[in-house]
Subunit: 131 residues, 2 copies
DNA sequence: AATAATATGTCAACCATGTTGACATAAAAA
DNA sequence: TTTTTATGTCAACATGGTTGACATATTATT
């Protein structure tokens, strides 16, 4: 269990959100929108597990920065779904690029063995001690 | 990669820190102290990757609540190491209990296949949509 | 048609937690 | 003796979150 815990610390340290002027929830938002296709605002907010206010403030900024589009559903005009703009897709790729490379390198090293990969990540985290 | 990301969201949602009056960094601190044995304050702080001030404020509270002891190193009296008190160990176990159970149940279900376990966790996260 | 419920947006007030930079002390190293 | 290291603490400020009240448009219910 500590493996999962520590591995994730390492995993998330591979991303530098500041560089892209995103906060954690905005990153989670973009990531979710990119991975799920088509989910209503309400559902995304529920997944993020943050207050409506926090959600809206963050979303507003992403929309203003033209990273995300809001699309009103045709069946039920109360509902809006989110999608990434071209710019949003590009940013998302860039943000995750470094992490992706490192993770892929690790999986290569351990022949795609998930257990070994996670242990490796976990070790990398703990070994930051010795730097 | 999204598997690791989503799986961890689910993983961390299994713990309710509020119930135990801990914030995230205090939990990380306790968790680290429990898993590593014997690490200096400086090293733990570096691992947590937070400012000295944030570290000290959080640590102070843990010490006041008698969850953690500070031990001055004999070799080098400048250095202090941290250890959990009995009460700290107990709390740590309690905090992680529910998570541990759920994770073990998942690993049982997938015959300890890490890849499947992580995918399962990830799915559980996404499927919170349908509640 | 009238009323209720749903999905969303927004504001103000407040709170939790973090960062930075300056300063301080004790111990060890040079 | 001087410098460096490991630690502690303060004040000022920044970031980001929550809550509760209120508002609108649309759909569902009666």
């Amino acid at each position: 269990m500590s493996t999962i815990f520590f591995a994730y610390q390492r995993f998330s340290s591979m991303i530098d959100l500041k560089k892209y002027n995103l906060n954690k929830n905005q990153h989670r938002m973009i990531y979710l929108v990119a991975e799920l296709n088509i989910a209503s605002i309400g559902k995304i907010q529920k997944l993020l597990n943050i207050s409506r206010q926090a959600f809206n403030v963050n979303l507003r900024e992403l929309v203003e920065r033209k990273l995300v589009n809001e699309v009103t559903s045709k069946k039920d005009k109360r509902i809006k779904t989110l999608e990434l703009t071209e710019k949003g897709i590009e940013l998302n790729n860039k943000v995750n690029e470094e992490q992706k490379k490192e993770i892929e390198a690790i999986f290569d090293r351990v022949n795609n063995d998930w257990e070994k990969a996670m242990i490796e990540l976990s070790k990398e985290y703990i070994n930051e001690l010795d730097k």
